[in-house]
């Protein structure tokens, strides 16, 4: 998944869970059935999981352009010179 996809998926997950929670509570309250509330919510969590967890291609529409390995070899990493610091005298 790319960065845009990750952000989208997180939003979808939060909104879907909240919507299902409210729907489940209203359904349970109106029908007078605690079991109905739990079933609707469990179904909602599973559905949200199926949509947001796997790496669907839909979420990879802005892929990152990783540098090609053969191109990377042509531009070696610059050498980093290590400067050793001397500790100052303590007062």
């Amino acid at each position: 998944m790319d960065w845009q996809g990750q952000k989208l998926v997180e939003q979808i997950m939060q909104i879907m869970l909240l919507v299902f929670a409210v729907t489940a509570f209203v359904a349970g309250y109106v029908l007078g059935s605690f079991q109905m509330m739990v079933l609707v919510y469990a179904g909602g969590v599973t559905l949200t999981g199926l949509i947001t967890i796997p790496n669907w291609p839909f979420f990879n529409r802005h892929p990152l352009n990783w540098l090609d390995p053969s191109e990377a070899e042509k531009h070696p990493k610059p050498q980093v010179t290590v400067i050793s610091k001397k500790k100052g005298s303590k007062k």
């Binding site: 990750q6 997180e10 929670a21 509570f25 605690f34 919510y41 949200t48 967890i53 796997p54």
Partner: protein, 167 residues
């Protein structure tokens, strides 16, 4: 949301947190229920009334308990536990409570009932104060929820008394 496991963990944690909130709201919704229960207890017979070898009075009685507790049930009720207690005063204790009978009502359909029964638990006094004693019979109930707060209340029925002599 960087990997499968990360997203799975995020989803499950959020889902469980929301579930906890739903349970809290469900329990709060029970406060909107205004119950109107009714009950009647008749003592049909005093089976026997003896002084036990240790010196304590004991009485066995048969009673008819009838009640309509249907209004106590909500969508969040698992069961209602009820018990009948005899309450009386003695010189030693300002309040004695002796549980005589209890039952579990699992569903609203069973909440309107009557039962003709002798006391399930022994009606024994701490001492021998029961002769001619006036007592109340209270029907207590505990509404046990599927999630959240338990409500308990009672009806006090007065006017009962025990015989003056052992029999």
């Amino acid at each position: 949301m960087h990997s499968f496991g990360y997203r799975l963990n995020g989803l499950l944690t959020f889902a469980v947190t929301i579930l906890a909130l739903m349970c809290a709201i469900t329990s709060l919704s029970d406060n909107f229920n205004t119950p109107s229960p009714s009950a009647e207890i008749k003592i049909m017979n005093i089976n026997w009334f003896q002084k036990q070898p240790q010196g304590h009075d004991e009485v066995s009685l048969t009673m008819n308990v009838s009640a309509d507790l249907q209004s106590l049930f909500t969508w969040n009720t698992k069961q209602v536990f009820i018990f009948v207690a005899a309450e009386y005063e003695t010189r030693k204790n300002s309040l004695n409570q002796v549980s005589l009978w209890d039952a579990i009502i699992p569903a609203k359909e069973h909440a309107k009932f009557w039962t003709h029964t002798s006391n399930k638990y022994r009606f024994v006094d701490q001492g021998n104060n029961l002769r001619g004693k006036k007592f109340n019979l209270t029907l207590h109930w505990h509404v046990m929820p599927k999630t959240g707060k338990m409500f308990a209340d009672k009806i006090v029925l007065t006017g009962y008394s025990l015989p003056e002599e052992y029999r």
